[in-house]
Symmetry: C2
Subunit: 334 residues, 2 copies
Amino acid sequence: MIAVLGAGSWGTALAWLLGEQGLPVRLWMRDPARAAEMAASRENSVYLPGLLLPPSVAPTADLSAALADASVTVIAVPTQAVRETLRAASGLLPPCTMLAIAAKGLERGTGRRLSEVASEELGEGLARRVAVLSGPNLSGEIVRRVPTATVAAAREEEVALALQQVFSTPAFRVYTNPDLIGVELGGALKNPIALAAGVCDGLGFGDNTKASLLTRGLAEMTRLGVAAGGRAETFSGLSGLGDLVATAHSPLSRNYRLGLALGRGESLESAQASLGQVAEGVPTTDAACRLSERLGVDAPIIRELRHILYVGKPVAEAVSILMSRPYRDEGPFD
Amino acid sequence: MIAVLGAGSWGTALAWLLGEQGLPVRLWMRDPARAAEMAASRENSVYLPGLLLPPSVAPTADLSAALADASVTVIAVPTQAVRETLRAASGLLPPCTMLAIAAKGLERGTGRRLSEVASEELGEGLARRVAVLSGPNLSGEIVRRVPTATVAAAREEEVALALQQVFSTPAFRVYTNPDLIGVELGGALKNPIALAAGVCDGLGFGDNTKASLLTRGLAEMTRLGVAAGGRAETFSGLSGLGDLVATAHSPLSRNYRLGLALGRGESLESAQASLGQVAEGVPTTDAACRLSERLGVDAPIIRELRHILYVGKPVAEAVSILMSRPYRDEGPFD
């Protein structure tokens, strides 16, 4: 039995993916009326309309029933709701369940990674069975069965291998990785850089500029991630580079769209108002900037982006500062 | 005095960039009539129409005059013409000139990198003053002055620093790198992967697929490049990742367009015929495949692409083979 907590587009897509393989899934959501409606219509009419859930997926609003006998518990609630969801689940989780965190980002305020939140809420005992699922994984494409790759990261190899086995399908290719910290930070730090890529497109710059920005942005993500305990190679992988490239080219991404509007000269207030909700990259830019200061890591793109988002610096001025910094090397001469 | 050999779009854009800084440039091309016309009209009407060359750029078809007193000689002729151009130049080069290779790719037949070709033609004495200029650098964008970054790679730090000084402008940011091999291979191996990205778009797959392909493709480029003597980090830089991302999203790239046509079901013959000329990625795919076999490096994407291009394997079959390979890790568990 697999429990998927959260029935947004990502949770629903994962429940569908598992259910399609014939695995029994309970898909938990907070609202009983929505669960009843989904159980009757077999469809998530809000987030993935038109997709029929396989018979082995059972929608429910009963957390205790959802978690009973779960060998794998997938966390797909919104990033900022992960702590309260884990707190509610903590007494109900079967002792040997593996936890697969499918949400991405850092906790607002604390700047914690979500696996750190899990350790705090569930204790170190369960923490050894925590994994993270991350990569260039747009839900709408997964349910169209387009070929997609992702990463299952866990400290313990057996946990990563078990999740690779559970999630792999002919169209969804899962790679394992022991670098939990790097995979989590890749999925979080890519948002500020994708936002900056939107700014760059909004300013009417070209493919040279965007490719240069993504490359130097990935270099910043890597420096920061390594200083925080991740592996450099992880950031060149699916959860770093892969997710960054997908997000920075996707008009579906809120972060990219916010940047695009800023680059076109809209104010932050007006750009955020037309998005309807806060883009995750905005608080992450602040958190990443603080992290870079704390770790003593140079992160000029993230720093200039923070000035644009929080101090109202004109974007043209930020670009000019980035382009006129002292000459640098890309790799050190010995 | 700077000599730029080759007046295609890239050579002309570099001559313009240097001339705009007030540096005296001789722009050499083979055809005296074209040189005379360009000297009179101050325009490269074939490759960059509408761009006015600064007064300090002197077009010429006299190789000896072009090279006289050149402190820097830029090689911007087509890849397969580099050997004959260097051979013609070899007796004429001033003894202390630095050589900046701006052409990209491997020599057909031999599979040699262009800096190797330079060593063979000019001797090891000059080889210590050889550098490579590579990155996401579309000429049409450079002359629009959109912010762009690139790499100057050389074994000797003073050579890389000198070229960084010469080429840097407020809109063109040059990073140095000691990894000549990695920078050259990045610029060459990105072409097969960009071609594969075109196939992926032609098949109607999504952003997930393309991002996954680019990431795993970069992993192959890196494995191959490291086995050939390059540094892994270089491939995550401007000449690897940067150039790959720009090329794989650019409808201006012949490699991407060829892949797009193949993905849409056109035959190789018809796709190549409508391109008008051979895409550099086709012979490089063959060379890279041989390299991977010689070095014992696994390169499944390049291998399947070679089957499509040279054996006529249906693209759908190649995709299915890539997706059904044994499970892998992205990073090793210790």
